[in-house]
C-alpha cells in the first residue's frame, strides 16, 4: 500500500536537496578554483613565453605575426591597452603607437594629393623612410594592426580593397561599389576614360558620369584632357605606387 507523505519524509527530501546543493556548490567552487589556477598558470606561461621571446617578437616581423595569431586564437589582445602586462613586457604599445603616428602623418601629408586614399606600398615606403634603417622592420601586418587601432579615434581610418591591392583611407566616407569598380579598372594603367568605364561594365551613361564626377569631387581622381585620342582621362594618384606621386618625408 502506498504511504502518504509524512513529516519525516518531507524533512528527508529537504535535507537531501540541501546536501545536493552543498555538494554542487563545493564542486563548482573547486572547478572555479581550478580554472582560476589554470588561467593564472596559463597567463604566467604566456608571459614567460613572451618575455623569453621578447627580442624575437620585437625584431622578427614574421614571428610577431604568429604571436598575434596565437593570442587572437586564445582571446587575448596584447594591444588592448598600453598599461597592461603585455605592453610592459613587450613594449608593444609604444611600437604600435609610434607606427600609428607615422601612418597618420603619411596620410595627412599626402591627403591633398590623393584625396585621402593612399596606396599601401607607398605608405610602407614612407613609413620605412621615416623610421630610418636602424629601426626594427615593419610589415604590412603591423601596419594593418596599427590602422585597426587608429579606428577607435574615428577620423575614418581604414583599409579599402581594390582587387588585390590595398588602399589606406584616411577620410570618412565609404568607397561605394561603383567607385571601387572604376578604381579596379584603372589599376593597370593608372587612368580610365568614360568610354572604357562604359564598355567594361555596360553601365548607363548617367551612372558612369556620376561615378567619375564624384571621384573627381572627392579628390580621388584628377582630370587630364591631353590624352592621345582627346578623351578626358581620369587619373588616380592613389594607384601610383611607382613613385610619380610621392610625399616628401620630413627630415
Amino acid at each position: 500500500m502506498r504511504r502518504r507523505p509524512g513529516i519525516q519524509g518531507l524533512q528527508r527530501t529537504v535535507q537531501a536537496r540541501d546536501q545536493y546543493k552543498e555538494l554542487g556548490k563545493n564542486v563548482a567552487e573547486t572547478k572555479l578554483e581550478q580554472m582560476r589556477a589554470q588561467m593564472a598558470s596559463f597567463k604566467e606561461h604566456l608571459e614567460e613565453f613572451a618575455l623569453k621571446h621578447r627580442e624575437d617578437i620585437r625584431k622578427d616581423p614574421v614571428f610577431r605575426a604568429q604571436f598575434h595569431t596565437m593570442c587572437a586564437n586564445i582571446g587575448v589582445d596584447p594591444l588592448a591597452s598600453n598599461k597592461g602586462v603585455w605592453a610592459q613586457v613587450l613594449g608593444f604599445g609604444d611600437f604600435y603607437y609610434e607606427l600609428g603616428v607615422q601612418i597618420v602623418e603619411a596620410c595627412l601629408a599626402s591627403r591633398s594629393l590623393n584625396g585621402g586614399l593612399m596606396d599601401m606600398q607607398s605608405l610602407m615606403r614612407y613609413v620605412a623612410t621615416r623610421r630610418g634603417s636602424k629601426a626594427d622592420p615593419v610589415t604590412e601586418d603591423d601596419v594593418l594592426r596599427a590602422i585597426d587601432k587608429l579606428q577607435v579615434l574615428g577620423g575614418g581610418f581604414g583599409v579599402v580593397r581594390v582587387g588585390d591591392r590595398r588602399l589606406v583611407r584616411s577620410v570618412p566616407g565609404e568607397l561605394n561599389t561603383d567607385k571601387n569598380q572604376a578604381l579596379l579598372l584603372a589599376q593597370g594603367r593608372g587612368h580610365i576614360s568614360k568610354r572604357q568605364l562604359t564598355e567594361a561594365y555596360h553601365w548607363e551613361e548617367p551612372r558612369v558620369v556620376e561615378t567619375l564626377w564624384s571621384l573627381l569631387k572627392e579628390g580621388i581622381a584628377m582630370a587630364d584632357d591631353q590624352g592621345p585620342d582627346g578623351q578626358r582621362l581620369y587619373w588616380f594618384p592613389c594607384l601610383e605606387s611607382s613613385g610619380s606621386v610621392q610625399v616628401d618625408v620630413p627630415a
Partner: protein, 175 residues
Amino acid sequence: MTDFAFPFFFNYPPYFTLQPVKETRQRQIDLWSDLILRYCRHNKEYTLSSDPADDSPLFYNKRIERRLNREARIIFLSELCQRGNAQWLDKSQQQCLILWKKLGEWADVLYSFIRQFGLQDSVMTLDELSSGDDVKGTELEGVPNALLLEVIRLLEAQGKAQMFSGDGDVGVKFS
C-alpha cells in the same frame, strides 16, 4: 650649373590640365607657382610667356607629351603676381616678369651697388646697369631692361633715383 630637379607632379599628366574641382585646382596652382618660381631662380630666367606656342621646358613636358595651355599659364602666373613674385608686362598678359627676388629686394641690390661704386650723381644708362664692366659678376649682370625699369621706378618713388629719357635712351641718376 646643376640640372634643375623637377618635382614629382611634373611627370604626372593631369597636372597639365586645369583641374575642374576647386580644391584640387587650388592645390595645383600652389604646386605650379612654387615650381615656376624655383625654376626661374635656378635658371636665372626673368620673363615667361603665356603663349602656348612657347615651348619652355617648364611648361612643356616632352616625355609625357603634356603642355600647359594659355589659360593655365595665366592662372599660375597671376597667382605669383598676387604674391608679389611676378608682374605682367602688358595688359594682354602675354609676357610676365618673374620676380624670384621681389622688387624691393632688387631695389636694395641696385642701390647698394650704386653706393658701393660711388656712382651717385653720375648718369647711367640701363645697359651700363645690366652689362657694364662694373656689374660683371654681381647679381645685376644680365638683368633685363624690363626689370631694371620697374626697380628704378620703385627707387624713384622712394626719392633715390631720377629717370629721364633722351634720344630713345633712358638715363638714370641716383642720389
